[in-house]
Symmetry: C2
DNA sequence: GAGTAGTCTTACTCGCGAGTAGGTACCAGG
DNA sequence: CCTGGTACCTACTCGCGAGTAAGACTACTC
């Protein structure tokens, strides 16, 4: 009668992965507060004391989730971006990588951004850190490409606005999942590169040919 | 010995206002789940049963808060926008009104957007409704001003992107309160009207003279 | 001043969820 | 076969917070 069901006696490293996956899933579905350690342990196929033994308290577990998912995302973007290209192409590849990641990891994005940004306290720190890395990246892109003598501060704040727009558009996308990633990315690309001023005149930006 | 302290025996309408104010305050400071009805009643200077008698359950109270603050904000924007002007000026006045409201009502914005967007369920409905009104407004602006034969759908999605950018930039602003409202509004205006493509060439948008 | 409608309180119940005590099953090496 | 260590469990404690019961106090009316 126990042919299936409980996989038994796995090494610690494996269990920790399972637990983290379950935690990200539950946190993203229910939110930090509404998520219970009982539910997480159940989804992970494990009992609560194991959870506490391996990952510590609820707060520690959540912080660990944020760190892991933030790292995954930044790596995905770093992999996807194409350096040594024209600024617009770099931005485009970065946006595609970003929305690609969010699209394939909705749970990650939820736990990462939506939840962490509404729980004050120590969690916001992890988020701020990741956002800071993203902003620096965009700011560098702008500084290197600008022809006008823009101050470093101006570039930073514009980068922050763009990153904010990307974050929000990704949030919005969660509520409109029918749109494909490329369309959403292209929309933001056009918005921030061309601006409405050009768009209402019919001038659109498009990627440079095929590859 | 009772010269001050409890204000006594106020009519229902007044109490309801006090309670709503307290609720918005507490919800925005602590978040929906962490906010307790005990704390709200204490801040309102009232006992818990009164709270339940007048505003119903915690969920009902929260939904009522969202509705009230959403209405306040939409009215502020409608008042601030200048119709019968060039599209960019209309957009500019709308953005100024929006960021002006958020700046003077940080608590409202928090309870309205940050909290409501992370609690799933019935609350999201109120938000979606308000966002829908804002999007329609912007979409109309775009449609009326566009020279290219843009589809209604294209305008709608661009409007959604802009509204999303505004929402996110307002969220971001909460974490960077040192910036003045006008600067943030101008930043978004430049971003969405001119685009990075122009900005890196030194072409900026600026309001048409003084008034 | 007796009735009654509305304001307001103290003092509970009760369930849920974080965290734990105190084990049991299984697998090394001796 | 014992000894220890690691994976794993059932079954609790305990506080917090949503929601309520039952009544007290005030004010206004006839």
């Amino acid at each position: 009668m126990r042919t299936e069901g409980r996989a038994k006696r796995l090494p610690r490293a494996v269990r920790e992965r399972q637990i983290m996956d379950a935690a990200v899933d539950v946190f993203s579905r229910l939110g930090f507060h509404a998520a219970s350690m009982d539910e997480i342990s159940e989804v992970a196929g494990i009992s609560k004391p194991m959870l506490y033994a391996y990952l510590g308290s609820k707060d520690e577990l959540f912080a660990t989730c944020i760190r892991r998912e933030a790292t995954r995302m930044m790596e995905a973007i770093a992999t996807g971006v194409e350096p040594d290209q024209e600024p617009d192409v770099q931005l485009w590849s970065g946006l595609r990588a970003f929305f690609g990641f969010v699209g394939e990891n909705r749970a990650s994005w939820m736990v990462l951004h939506r939840q962490a940004s509404t729980q004050g306290g120590p969690f916001a720190v992890e988020l701020t850190d990741m956002r800071g890395r993203a902003v620096s990246l965009v700011a560098a892109l702008l500084t290197q490409s600008t022809k006008a003598p823009a101050t470093k501060l101006e570039a930073e704040s514009l980068a922050a606005a763009l990153v904010g727009a990307g974050e929000s558009l990704a949030d919005w996308w969660l509520d409109h999942p029918e749109e494909p990633a490329g369309v959403v990315a292209a929309r933001l690309m056009n918005l921030v590169w061309m601006g409405f001023g050009d768009l209402v005149d019919g001038n659109v930006w498009h990627p440079p040919s095929r590859r």
